[in-house]
Assembly symmetry: C2
Homo-oligomer: 457 residues x 2
């Protein structure tokens, strides 16, 4: 990709200029970059190079440096800032919008963040502290509290003058209209202002029926609304419908990415806030509990095998093929689970149409079971010369793929109905089911028909 | 959620009105809904109800009905349309933007789509056919070819008049500027037009250095650019830099969701275009190959167990604990794999910082291995009274979690370096590795120390 190649070139130059200590050239190169590109360059540098490059840039171009830090994301951004003094940080975070500042400050070590808030200008730190009071992952936490609004009593001409007097506002494609107590009463657009005569009252051209988000709305629901209605921004109101902020579509894109990451992670038993470079001890701590639960369920499945220790003693060949049944069930169950969990997340799958999904998954599961069971049976017959063992393996596989399909559909839907995130615990439930039923069906059938198995092996 | 509750209410009414055949009331209810809400309502109805409700709406409000069909997504939307005549469809698709029309027509059965294209107005069908000529998942395929542009020779006043004369254009927050042969030369905004005097030449206020996408750019790269630079739309140009279309951020959100779904699916061995309600036979067909590959690898792992058939014959208890080693390796490997694959997808992880990631994952893997290995060893000692068996199980687990960490990091990075989607094949590689090494390390250690194991069991 051209963009990636350009960034690689910048990256090479940055490394070279840092090595030879050519600070002036480095500054000249960095200041010409877009904040998003800078963030990517910073992301690929070593910790030491990143700090050196950031230090060079921040002294002369504080705003650009801080915009790049924002783009890095709050965790990595706060890490980069945290080596600086509280005074420095307090000054620097005022260069960026308060929602970005709040996110960064939230990730600083506790002592440092308190010191920074104390040192900021009272008005600014007040805004940031207000944002930090909203619950995590709500509209209030991710909104930008600086939102431009027009009074409903203006004419179109006055509104345009108002806009011309506020050259620094960020976002003006939607113009929100408020009454004298700042209740949100309507929305219009810059474009609509241009299509009517200047004397027209704003009230006449505004749309009163508009979509807004309450400060306490879950960020995932905010993202769903923005995506469903193809909005570029959504106004945020408090419980009295007063306009308190705005969430723009670029923040919504970040939410959608984070929520997708969380879904992917949860299916694999990884905590939603882990990243590729989360410190090892923290990752270990986050992953161990889930593996611990898996260990317990693994012993549960081992207990099922232990029930048939006598059968295995008589027919050790069973130990060879038994993991195949469990493993194939796990794989098929994971496929079903993934489609169902994603279907729930995308809003396509609900209790209302669950029966149709269950029917589909069972058809697919049993169908795959028949194909794979026959294939496995033939392989065992060919390699071991024992058709009965093959048939037992095939039958056990069909049974287990049926179990996988049913469990893979019903468990996430059940968790959802109980208001638990279906991705959270499903995976461990499914593989436990497919291990237990896999071992039980294969070893159980083998016990039942052991007299047909013993002879030819 | 309030929004969901409102939709549930609409859904109940729709079902009731359909049951009692109150068509006029039904029409009245449907026409008041937002297309996105209608799509959700349609999605939750049974096939028959959906067709009935759609038929009622489409006769009187063709555009609204088609907007709802677009929101349903091309696959489900095409399914809903496909029961109608080609004449009907040809007329209806002209109610929606050409990119949405192209996506729908692409999903119709071949014969029907040809008939529809033949019946459309020549100009319209030409536009749609042009779009369908671009490769799937490229900028050209998802762009809207109707893009408004201003000539670089205009003044600001003339540009505003131009805008006032084109009241029907969709998207005007970025105003693209082109030369006389429609080469893209700059961008400005409605807002900037308002801040200068009408006589100012457009050239003076436009930004010449703008980000655009080539028609053949991969849609994922388009999405990355729009997200990285916080754009609301990106202009699409051909190989000569002529402006040919526009991709707006709402389409980018759809791409981001689809790509996330694809990543989630691929990790589980599900094809990217499967949905919760893909017909069973199609799903079976899509999932079987991956399960087939898994069956082959399962036999490979079974082959490793077969190497130790004699050891198991002497010590059948090994069959009980052997799946635990393999299973825990698979779980830990999946955790590593997921974090690494997502890190690559989000652009955080590259070859450049791969060593750091590998080091981290190995620390986490061995750390978890020690905790879980000791726990498992104690359980075996307590339940079987055999400390040696416990130690062997624990050691095998540490070895296998090390393998899981190394494979889970290196395999996706290697696939990425070879330009293969890391999510595509990683999962089957990892579980094969952890099965093979799990069985080998546990049964191998047990063979080596079998004389210490035999006695006390």
């Amino acid at each position: 990709m051209a963009a990636q190649r350009r960034i690689d070139l910048v990256l090479d130059s940055v490394r070279r200029l840092l090595r030879i200590g050519a600070t002036a050239n480095l500054l000249n190169l960095l200041q010409k970059q877009h904040p998003a590109d800078l963030a990517q360059v910073f992301g690929e540098l070593t910790d030491r190079d990143r700090e050196a490059a950031f230090s060079v840039l921040v002294e002369r171009h504080g705003r650009l440096a801080m915009e790049a830090v924002s783009e890095l994301g709050p965790e990595a951004g706060a890490a980069l800032l945290s080596t600086r003094s509280a005074e420095d940080i307090a000054k620097l975070v005022q260069e960026i919008p308060s929602d970005d500042a709040a996110a960064l400050i939230d990730y600083l070590p506790d002592e440092l963040s308190t010191a920074v808030l104390d040192l900021m200008r009272p008005r600014e730190s007040g805004v940031v502290e207000n944002l930090l009071e909203y619950d995590e992952k709500t509209a209030g936490r991710i909104m930008n509290p600086t939102v431009f609004a027009l009074s409903e009593d203006l004419t179109v001409g006055e509104a345009i003058t108002e806009l011309q007097n506020h050259r620094d506002i960020e976002m003006v494609f939607y113009l929100y209209v408020v009454d004298e107590r700042r209740h949100l009463v309507g929305v219009t657009s810059l474009r609509r202002l241009l299509l009517v005569s200047p004397e027209t009252p704003l009230k006449r051209i505004m749309v009163a029926d508009l979509i807004s988000a309450r400060v306490d709305m879950d960020q995932e629901e905010v993202a769903r609304q923005v995506a469903a209605y193809n909005l570029l921004a959504i106004p945020v109101v408090d419980e009295e419908n007063k306009l308190v902020g705005i969430i723009t579509v670029d923040d919504v894109i970040d939410v959608i990415k984070d929520e997708a990451t969380e879904d992917i992670y949860r299916l694999a038993g990884v905590s939603g806030d882990e990243r590729a470079f989360t410190p090892p001890m923290e990752s270990l701590h986050k992953r161990l509990p889930w593996l611990g639960v898996n260990l317990v369920t693994a012993f549960l499945a081992a207990g099922v095998v232990a029930l048939f220790e006598g059968t295995i003693d008589a027919l050790p060949v069973l130990a060879i093929f038994m993991p195949i049944v469990a493993g194939m069930g796990g794989n098929a169950g994971t496929q079903t689970l993934t489609v169902v969990v994603r279907g729930i997340a995308l809003g396509e799958l609900t209790w209302g149409n669950a029966r149709k999904a269950l029917f589909k998954e069972i058809v697919v599961g049993v169908g795959n079971g028949v194909f794979l069971g026959v294939a496995a049976a033939l392989v065992v017959w060919a390699t071991r010369g024992n058709p009965t063992l093959g048939i037992i393996l095939g039958l056990a596989m069909i049974v287990n793929l049926f179990v996988a399909a049913a469990a893979g559909t019903l468990i996430p839907l059940g968790l959802r109905a109980a208001n638990v995130d279906p991705a959270l615990a499903s995976s461990v439930f499914i593989t436990t089911m497919t291990d237990v039923f896999g071992f039980f069906s294969f070893l159980g059938l083998a016990s039942l028909f052991s007299r047909y198995l013993a002879a030819p092996i």
